[in-house]
Every structure is written in C-alpha cells, then in structure tokens.
Amino acid sequence: MSMEVPLDRAPITERFGEAIDDLGFAHGVHSFAAPPEMIVELSRFLKEHPALRFNFLSDICGVDHYPEMPRFEAVYHLYSLPNKWRVRIKCRLGDPPRVPSVIAVWRTANWHEREAWDMYGIRFDGHPDLRRIYMWEGFEGFPQRKDFPLRGYKDKLNPFGAEGPPPTQPDLATKNIP
C-alpha cells in the first residue's frame, strides 16, 4: 500500500513521550505499543488531533501468546479517512486480561470487543454489554485461546472432542458479566 504523505509521528511522541513505544513502519502500517491504562487517552488523541484524525476503527483483535508472558494482547487497527494512514496499537495484557473499552471513542468497538471477550476472555472495562457474540450463553471457556483444544472438549454433543474437563476460571470465565 502506498502512502503519499507518510504519517507524522511528531504529535504522538510529543504528547506521550516515553509512555508508548514506536515499533516502526512495516507493510503500510505504523505500529505503536501502549500500556492498557493509556489506551482510551491515546485513542481519543489519535481520533481528535487535527493533524491525525484517525476516525475509523478497522478492527480490534485479541491474541494469545501462550506460553509467553504477558500472555494476551489486544491489537487495534485504525485508519484515517482524511489522511489515508493506517496505525496499529498493540497492548500487552496479563492474565486475567483486562483493558478499558474504547467504545466511547468509536461505537464500532462494540462488537469487536464482544468478539475478543468471547474468543479470548479479554475483559473490556466500561463496555455496556459485554456478552458472548458467537458462542452460546453458558458456553464454558474461551475457544480461541491456545490451550483450548481445536476440537473442543468431549461431552455428550461432541464425542470427538479432547479428553478432560474444560478449564474453569470461576472468577471470570463463564458468566456474562455486564
């Protein structure tokens, strides 16, 4: 992807300084690493700064780096419609993973965050409706985690699943937490 005018990083580094890491430019996307507690502030800044205007949230993606620590990651892909720039924000999360919701910045974050919760169990604090989106209510575990077997766990409906009970994490796992 060609970019006519490269992204001007000056406002970002000026505002946040050492708090976020610049991971450089690769394959048409500029990457930054940010700590989870800064994600809302950074998002709002990127969206509202007159020279940046990242008004379009393309995607939020959960990643499980098991057995690496910290284990989880939330990856945000932003696009600036006026400037045609793409930016990626990477946010490493511990276990259990928690990160503030960016739904107040972009409404489209709603379903992306629900999906990351459903598949990886990433809690988005401040999300008004954090329910499972693909799996059914009452499903146990988070299927896209690396320690979840590809065929699921064996039960009455799934005779070809892996042996062993699903991992229960009573503090967070299965309930639909509002």
Partner: protein
C-alpha cells in the same frame, strides 16, 4: 355482551401499553441466512434491536492456526460465499506482503478480473433480493439469470462454480482457458443493458420506492463511527474506496469511478451497488485490453508448485518440490501484516501474525459484513417493523462472513 365504548372505560385510567419482544429469524427468508434479531417493539415501532449471530460460526480463525497457508484458501472461500475470489485475493495479498513477493502482472490481472466478476455476482444477488424482500419477485429471477452466466465463467476458469479457491500465494492456479476471452467479452457486451433492465423494473415501482426512500437513514458521521465500509458507507456520502485510495494489485492502472450517494437510505445503498456493477464491467474490459502475456505464477520453487506440471513425473527436483509444498507447505518469515482490500461488502482485512513456521500464529479476519451489521443499531431506530426487512436487506449481510 357489553359493548366496549370510550365511555365504558373507568375514568382517568390510561390504556395499558407494554413493550413487546419479537423474535425475527433465525429461519426467515429475509434475513439472508441465519440471523436472529430480537426486536423490542412499541406498538409497530422498533425501539431497540439486538442481533444474535453465531449460528454459522465455524471457527475459521482457529482452524487457520492449524492449516498451512495454502490450505487456508478454501477456508476463505467460505467467508463471503457469494464472492469467494475476493476473499482469496485478500488472503493471498496479506501472505505475499509477509513474504515480500508480488505475483506476476498477468496473475494480478486475472485476480482483479475474477474479483470484479465476484463483485458483480455478489451485488446481483442483493439487487434482486432487496425487491424480493419487499414483494417484487421478478427482479431476483432476472438477476439470477445473469448470475448464472458469471457462475459459468468462473467454472470455466477454475472448475468450481462457487468456491473457486483459484488464487495461490504468488499467483493463480492456472492460466485462463482457451476460448475464455470471447465468452467474457460477450458477457461484458450483454450485461450493461441487463443492468438497465433491473433498474427499469424498480425505479418506477412506487411500492419499492416508498419502502426504501428515506428509510433507514444513516448519516456519514454515524456510518464512520459505526465502522461501516463499502457501498453501505458510500451511500451516506463518504467517498472512500480502498481500490482507489490504497491501490493494490493493478488497480492504479485502471480507470473507474467511485460511486457515492448522499441520501444514506436503503434506496441509496441499493443504487450504489447497481452503479458499481457498471464500473466493474468497465474494469473487466480494461483488464482484457491491458492483460499481458506471461507467467501466471511466481517462479519460486520454495513457494509455488512447478509451473510445468508434467515435470513432476520426470524430474526428481520437481517431484520433491511438489511433495514438499503439498505435505509441509512453505515457511513465512516472522512478522505481522494487516492488509485490506475493497471486497464487495466493504473493507475486508486480514491480520496475520507469523511466527516463522508454515502455519499462521494468528489470523484475524476483519469481515465487512460483521461490522456493517452494527449499522442496524442506528438504521432501525424508530422504524416500522415492516421496514426492518428493507433495512436489513439493504445492508447486504452475508452470514458466512458475519459468523466466520
């Protein structure tokens, strides 16, 4: 029997009203698949909509982590099952970026041509299905007739009508068959007149117009905020097309218009799609005017099968190469890439994290229909229940892609 009149009601007591929850789907022809909408109604007005998805969830992303890169192509076919060549293209481009390679020019033309054929076939379905949802059946029958011609063309190229899986990393599977060019030229000659026919079927149809114009309006700000893309966003007046703004493959050599409408209603979304089919025909014609002769696949033994397949039977090296690629796949350097294309439904992005092995560590699909469906939250606000059908149809969600 006592007669109920205005006078018989006790003094001062209001009519007892309450909200009704209505379940629309998952088996309902107008949901275009298996989508369940829980609607909160006040009288005949929709107050709130809660889409329940996941009935078609196959875990494409999880499956992809255990497949080699070549094996993932058939999985991508089944995302937006109305236009598989676009999905193949999006995935191939993402992997090629990680590998730092580019397909030969001829292959790029073939891919673009197929993606545009797919765009027409996807748009044709909704061109006919939206009037069908609103009671005008004729348009769908004619649209299907033309869609059949595209299916035949895709079958000629790849042998499959729906799930073509024709792209490969570094090119396409085969060259175009003999006798293909006259066939597609014939299609390009016929089709623009047929588009006019569809328009004539509905543009003077007062029922269709009354039920789509001014219904389900989304403003440009709302559209961007909700992450809509593709024709759904362009119908709200946002002039954004990835084909033009971040040109991939050979789109920068082609001349086409980006269709926008300002109304943001169901009719505008429908019109955008019809107009886009005209542009796609122009793109296909240009592809054939410009397409050079040359290889259809990159000449890189570590990534692509031997170009001359007969060699596999008489050359040891070619046999080993073929076996190696089939059995183990190829390694992709460590790194991550997000690559987006303009699929018929909008921004189709693949985010791939590679750990240096033959299989992706993580593959995330940014499915346009999944995000577009969130437009319902705004578009369904204070609409009549009957208009929900038009609103839903006008977003053109494909459940294969919504549920992944």
């Amino acid at each position: 029997m006592t007669e109920v009149t205005e006078l018989s009601r006790p003094e001062g007591e209001a009519l007892d009203t309450r909200e009704v929850l209505l379940n629309l789907g998952p088996q309902h022809p107008s949901t275009h698949g298996v989508l369940r909408l829980v609607l909160e109604l006040e009288g005949e007005y929709v107050k709130r909509v809660d889409p329940h998805i996941g009935y078609l969830h196959r875990g494409t992303e999880k499956l992809a982590e255990s497949f080699t890169y070549t094996q993932i192509f058939p999985l991508t076919d089944r995302l937006d099952y109305l236009c598989p060549p676009s999905n193949n293209l999006a995935f191939a481009l993402a992997v090629e970026k990680l590998l730092g390679i580019e397909a030969p020019i001829r292959a790029q033309y073939i891919r673009v041509m197929m993606a545009e054929l797919a765009r027409i076939s996807g748009h044709l379905l909704i061109t006919g299905a939206l009037p069908l949802d609103l009671g005008a059946m004729t348009a769908l029958l004619y649209a299907m007739r033309e869609r059949e011609m595209i299916m035949d063309l895709l079958e000629m190229i790849s042998g499959a009508r729906m799930h073509t899986s024709f792209c490969r990393v570094g090119g396409v599977r085969e060259d175009l068959p003999d006798g293909f060019v006259p066939k597609i030229r014939e299609f390009c000659d016929i089709f623009p007149n047929r588009i006019r026919d569809y328009e004539r079927l509905v543009e003077n149809n007062r029922v269709f117009l009354n039920r789509t114009q001014g219904i389900g309006v989304i403003s440009a700000e709302d559209g961007i905020d909700l992450g809509l893309s593709g024709p759904n966003l362009r119908a709200s007046g946002v002039d954004w097309d990835i084909r033009r703004d971040e040109p991939y493959e050979i789109y920068d050599r082609l001349d086409f218009n980006v269709i926008t409408r300002n109304e943001g209603d169901c009719y505008a979304r429908w019109q955008c799609r019809v107009e886009e089919m005209r542009e796609s025909i122009r793109i296909i014609e240009q592809c054939f005017d410009q397409m050079p002769e040359g290889p259809f696949q990159i000449d890189m033994p570590t990534i692509a099968f031997p170009v001359d397949k007969d060699k596999v039977h008489c050359s040891m090296e070619a046999l080993i190469q073929h076996f190696d690629l089939s059995a183990y796949g190829f390694k992709v350097p460590k790194g991550e890439v997000y690559s987006a294309i303009e699929s018929p439904k909008g921004e189709l992005g693949f985010y791939i994290i590679s750990d240096g092995s033959e299989k992706p560590f993580r593959m995330k699909v940014r499915a346009p229909s999944f995000v577009n469906l969130q437009g319902l939250f705004v578009a369904s606000n204070a609409q009549y229940l009957a208009d929900m059908i038009a609103v839903l149809g006008s977003f053109d969600p494909v459940m294969g892609e919504v549920d992944k």
